[in-house]
Symmetry: C3
Subunit: 673 residues, 3 copies
């Protein structure tokens, strides 16, 4: 990519009055060089079946081209027009709750031939009208695609075919692997296959969700194929991935396997939303960035992030800028707001854009102007940042789904409590706060050996091959840290009937036969030191060391003979096992221990001072220093001499680095000291 | 009205044994002079289609007439008989949840011709049997009518016709005004109109609810027309309105526009339920009374209020009497309990009447006897009380609905939090506690100039004409107080794209481009004084003064440059803007400031001493002094010499007025000092 | 029964690998002598319609017979195979939520002829294959049977026929008794009978639930009849009853009348699940045991109880053993775990068995070995324990259902709050903690006079005959303790219109006309003494003594004239009335008072030391001393000289009895001192 993209989604269609010229003028003033258009506008592009009207698209391209602003075209397929549903009511997905009612986006059956027929036609028409345009730099296919719970007859019949293939038509094998004998769920003829929406079998249910995720892969790659027929080589193809939503971007997306779905893209894209004001930590920006960068092992686009967002997100002074650089620091080549202007009607009226409903300059816009000017000035030093991280976190959609069916804190009273992503974020956030940058890897990843240390949160459901791969990684000299709930069930959510942790027991040098929920259970041991607040939380496995060093054991009259945290030398490597969730201090002590022995660099800085780094197009090291607090931070600069890019000041090693409240400093190191 | 009505709903139909003679005797002993009957008894009045049996009605009228007790006849239409639903299952309303199952009241489609056909016939038969009866003083049409979510095909087709008329068949105008382009909801042919039950468009959704409210208006006026064909001129026609229900009568009824629906009545009627015991404040009685009195600008009927009610409402000694006089003090000409006796079966068994299930005298009944005797003795001084309030509160169903779609505290995680009525009650209750009596006005009201001060809580959705009317009110010398969330969107819930507050910005001398949720945000400024607990709550607009005096600004490091509460002189009047919700003390300080400059009388009394006043049929001032606490209150009597009516004692200005716990004193002033 | 049954449910069908020989070896080592098999395995027993395959059953019987392990055969009918639902979708029950989707157990219509046809056939085939086997000691028909909400057309038509019979075809009688006139629910022709699923009439609704419970009785007795055709005389027939589920076995089962349903069994069976670790109190074991023993007035089988169960239940050392003896101490002749091994798939994967998923020995298994050895050694002294309790608690499904419709804490805002079982457990648990053992009795029980004292919690809905029976019980010298909400409505949930408490008012010497929820209401009086924490909770009736001694009155300025707890001599007996729920100390003081005057033995021991007793097959008194705490307990042994069976030590009266943490001592008294 040649320049950082700074911009916003722009909806000429939604404007309450003629604004285009004024908007472009305000964009130029703000240094905005890219807009994303057309996404979700099917009903204006094709007002009636077969009648196309791309006038909004055309006029925006015309004006943007004139103004030198790039355009990203989004295919409009993630919300269907009324005429389609009126003629073909069954394009609305049938879910476990029955068939939906028209209104919301993302409620259609993405496998339905009627939907696919119309979607293909509108995409082709849109491509014809846009692919040749100079301003158009790339395409976003669909938006935040998921499978929307689609589980109608057609989907279920495909699922049965998928199972017949998976099990080579061997019903017995399926019954055995999924444990369908239980509660008389055994299927003794394929034609008896029951409506899977009602299943209580976690293996079958999780398999269906995995199958549904493949529908997303297929749909996106089908769209990409169509777009590829038209796009120029210099035009990218991306998608706007999103995350598990807890009112903000929290963790792995349960309904999409990002790693699979990203295969058909030329560059990964993402939206990242997060709390601000006193709750702005940068963790979500880093998490979402590290994950999206890892998808295709390269730079990525932030296609959406909040400008003002909901009232609780109205940024404090400095925060918008802090956020923008935080995205770049993770490897993003763009910062694009959702969206330019706040919408005056409908549903997301309070998901405010850079401009409020009044289109006036406001504090957020004024800060965007500053960001835009800085990007123009120093963007060339910040674009295409490459990272070479020493640490990775292994994540798995299958583990997530399995732990949804079998909740970590599930009791006979219900399946509430924390989920997989809570464990992922427990690990990730501690590394983030310690300023240990990391990549994400997936079960299929083959590049394990490039990492000095790999963290494996709650890898509950995993194929034997993956566990063996982890075994080899340690044997070959790697440093592995896994948490409770790892290596318990196979990829079909069948719990191992051999010793737990399955396959990895020798690697970790532990086994366990029992587990429980900790109540008033402390932790004692070398790794804990004198911390009186060390405690086991949420879930605890009653570990028995089979040679591992016990870093901590449980401090409770009934569980005191069991280990809680262990460390084992295996082959040429080391494996740490966390048998329970712990307080932050204990976790960080464990991490520090293993990372030090893994010879991973441990910065002296810690949250709220966040340091992120990479190598830029000039081959130079760039280091970001963020202050995620309302108090000014003064820290020593300990790296090579360089230039603080924002102020254009030279900086020497050991000099004091002053970072204002919610501020940022960026140092490009000199080649020589 | 000639005499205060004191009474109860009476259901001979529900009696487990023959009770009529005994009940009348107990009523006479209690001074009860009115019963309401027949309401909700369709299945006894018309046991089979076309077979009528008014024997319960007849025998009650006979006995009441004999005993000199008035009868109010309720049409029985708010609960349908089984035979109707068995023959015509589709009279049950189809809502967003599908079609209901027979059982509850208020689940039919009030637009369904089958329902209307049968309803008309039973009303006509009932009128024939009752209209000529001497004891029958009036009619209540239906009961607590709402639209019950009716949204089936027939209703939706009427709605489309309504929209075609509203937009003069101009689809583009509708799409633009409702912002339907968003998320591809645009409707490009009327025949494509989707099932509105699924809409996520707040403008369309709110319009549908407004349309549904007109169904209530039409239904009631249709009933009134039928009743009018039969009733004598001396017989009134009323309806039993109710309020937003939070386990008690809380605020504006979301599903009915009372102001519109009341047009067809000769006198407004209402039910008011409220907490008692330690939680009895009188606020709901005053609120419901002030609102109902304002509907037709005159006295009104309390058709239902609690006697014993649910177990948590069992009144303390004195409370039933305190409540009765509180109703009168708001302008009620009746106090009628729901209901005479507690019901022995079905659903509202624990909504107890004046008598418990055992029909014995009990504390509540004994207190009713006291009330009845006092009403007989001094009722003539208390009936037909007229008020001339200097203050009004402007309320709006459209604002309420819009703030349901766009919750004040909505976040990207959900639409929870306070609603419109919380803001209304925040304003109302402060005035109530300060003993500033007020009327209610509606967007259509034309009598603004009669008020020295008008309070406008959260008028989120309002037509330009209304905002211009408020502008003129201030320009002409009025005193206006509006809160946050006022003048933000038009009547179609389209947010203004001009400066906020829309149209009123000059009047208030402020504007704002941003808003947020306050977290640890204090208030500082002249109106706050030394109050360390002054704080911004719930929602805060970042006000920029354009000439207004800043009464308070936000006390927070990031927001301190913004104003919170402002006061502006505009034309000959004054306009105060509350940019945030505040603590009670700050609100009252603001109110005191504006009311003093508006020359509104500010009594020295304050809650728990409540003073309410009016002019009686003798043209004399009557003042009620209520003690809403468990502690005796001693206050100076500061008005003209008069007579305390309950004890028949003269009272002089500056004498001490002793009001016992949960007690009341009523003073009729002498003409001369 | 000849020997204590110690065992587990065993599912050869669910095994992930060949385990039978190893499992039997581990069972033998643990002293396990019984397994329960076949329950819920329909889809393996009859893989296709009419194709039977009992190979799993056969091979388990073969091996168990060889090993000398008893087998209990469960009929597999509580979960239906896929082929049945595929061919006959309407065997899935239609409930108030519509028809379910295949997947879970217990979702079929137990009245559906298709289901019954297939169920009968598979039972007959299973009986043919098992009844002659030596190892088969008995049958469990179905499992935890309920009516699963079945309310389709067929069920409703049967219900109407049931009502026609109940009311002798007299619609007026039904309308009157159920109060259907209310809200126009009156039914004026049987053919108008509405869909009962929508009813809001508590009488009709409760009657329907009572009718639905009879479906369970009929279904079980129909199964028993089939089994009886085949079983040998030495083979028992039982059922696995369960309780109201609050994440563990809490109280009376709302959906089954155990007393009725148990008629067709030769021995009662039950599953009991309960919290463990710090929350293990023994109360659920005792409650469930006392209730199940009372069903058929004899020993019973614990067919399921937890081994490890959910992670929160992983037992502390000693607890599994403590639990096992606690079951025996209530009169159980078996302790059977659910289940042998933890299941590797599906739904109850975390409802762990004696073995974890790894089939290894673990702490729980090791403790089971100890239990098994002890049972073999001393079981003959502990089997067939007979009790002769002096105290009974009267429970009623009808009261439970009625208080679900009319919640004790229901308000105009909703029907939340405690239910019938909370009152039952409030009474039961206090007796348990005081070591007063009790039986349960039901409305139909005729053996009242055998008890010195009867406790009646919240007998809200009761026929006059039952209340008269209680009256006679007291008149004849009995001691009756009833709580608030007793004798308020008849069996049709029609509230009495005579004085409350209905019929029993003279017996208790009180009446009341009003009630309320206590807020800050203390209690004062002789029974309270100096306890400053005595308070009225949840619900309080405003009692007026009509001759009763007032043990406590309400301490509140408005309610102080009303009695809270009274005691009355009536005939030759005494009747105590608790007008409110109270703190534990007050309740126990009341209990102590009445039990002393009833000359019921009051042990000196109290929780956490629990004493349970009975007479064994040798006619000797056996006394269990349990320590339900983590601290060792030392108490005097105050009974006759005897032998502590576990340690085989003699013990003398007044010697110290040391009970370790979570420990147990068992004394068989000598005949002579």
């Amino acid at each position: 990519m040649k320049e950082l993209l700074f911009g916003a989604a722009y909806y000429d269609e939604y404007m309450p009055c003629e604004r285009l010229a004024q908007d472009v003028a305000m964009m130029k003033k703000a240094g905005i060089n890219t807009v994303r258009i057309a996404e979700s506008t099917w009903s204006t592009c094709e007002p009636q079946e077969g009648v196309f009207d791309f006038s909004h698209v055309e006029r925006v391209m015309d004006v943007m081209e004139e103004a030198g602003i790039n355009v990203i075209i989004g295919t409009p397929t993630y919300a269907v027009p009324t005429w389609m549903v009126k003629s073909h009511p069954d394009v609305i997905a049938e879910t476990v709750h029955g068939r939906g009612i028209y209104g919301a986006r993302q409620i259609m059956d993405i496998t339905h031939p009627v939907y696919l027929f119309y979607a293909e036609r509108v995409i082709r028409e849109l491509m014809k009208c846009t692919a040749h345009r100079k301003c158009v730099i790339g395409y976003q296919i669909d938006n935040e695609t998921k499978y929307y719970g689609t589980a109608g007859k057609n989907v279920q019949e495909r699922f049965v075919k998928y199972l017949r293939e998976k099990f080579h038509d061997d019903l017995d094998a399926m019954n055995r692997e999924f444990g369908l004998d239980y509660w008389s769920n055994r299927i003794n003829a394929w034609e008896d296959f029951p409506d899977v929406r009602g299943t209580i079998n976690g293996s079958l249910g999780a398999e269906f969700e995995k199958f549904q995720r493949t529908l997303v892969d297929k749909f996106l790659s089908w769209q990409a194929d169509i777009v590829n027929e038209y796009r120029r080589n210099d035009q990218f193809i991306t998608h706007n991935f999103d995350f598990e939503w807890r009112g903000y971007s929290y963790g792995i997306q349960p309904d999409v396997n990002h790693y699979h779905a990203a295969q058909c893209l030329t560059i990964a894209g993402v939206d990242i939303y997060h709390p601000t004001q006193d709750d702005l930590t940068g963790a979500e920006i880093a998490f979402g960035g590290d994950m999206t960068r890892s998808l295709k092992n390269g730079n990525y686009l932030v296609l959406e992030t909040e400008a003002q967002g909901y009232p609780g997100w109205t940024p404090y002074k400095g925060q918008l800028r802090l956020q923008a650089y935080s995205h770049l620091a993770s490897g993003a080549n763009s910062v694009m707001y959702w969206h330019w202007h706040s919408i005056h009607n409908s549903f997301e009226t309070y998901w405010k854009g850079l401009l409020s409903h009044d289109f006036q300059e406001n504090d957020a816009y004024r800060e965007a102007c500053l960001i835009g000017q800085e990007f123009q000035k120093i963007g060339k030093y910040l674009i295409n940042i490459k990272k070479k991280n020493e640490v990775a976190i292994l994540v798995s959609n299958e583990a997530l789904t399995a732990l949804k069916w079998f909740g970590i804190q599930a009791t006979a009273a219900g399946n509430d409590g924390i989920g997989y992503n809570d464990v992922v974020r427990w690990i990730y956030d501690a590394l983030y706060q310690m300023n240990v940058e990391c990549d994400f890897i997936w079960p299929e990843s083959e590049n394990l050996n490039q990492y000095k240390a790999i963290f494996v949160p709650a890898l509950y459901a995993a194929p034997d091959e993956l566990l063996q791969k982890l075994n080899r990684y340690v044997a070959d000299g790697g440093n592995l840290v896994a948490t409770f709930k790892t290596a318990f069930a196979n990829e079909n959510v069948k719990v191992s009937h051999e010793v737990q942790p399955h396959i990895l027991n020798n690697c970790f040098g532990v086994e366990y036969h029992q587990f429980t929920f900790p109540k008033n259970v402390g932790l004692k041991g070398t790794v804990v030191g004198e911390n009186p607040e060390a405690e086991a939380k949420i879930f605890m496995e009653l570990l028995i060391s089979k040679g591992a060093e016990v870093l901590a054991h449980y401090d409770h009259y009934n569980w005191k003979e069991y280990a809680a945290i262990t460390k084992n030398h295996y082959g040429r490597g080391t494996a740490v096992y966390l048998g329970c969730m712990t307080d932050q201090a204990t976790l960080k002590a464990v991490m520090k221990d293993i990372l030090q022995s893994a010879q991973v660099e441990l910065p002296i800085y810690s949250y709220p001072v966040i340091v992120r780094k990479g190598i830029n197009d000039f081959g130079k090291n760039v280091k970001y220093f963020f202050n995620y607090s309302a108090e000014e931070q003064n820290v020593p600069y300990i790296y090579k001499n360089g230039v603080e890019l924002l102020a254009e000041n030279p900086i020497k090693a050991q000099e004091n680095l002053n970072i204002p409240a919610w501020g940022v400093k960026i140092v490009e190191e000199c080649d020589e000291q």
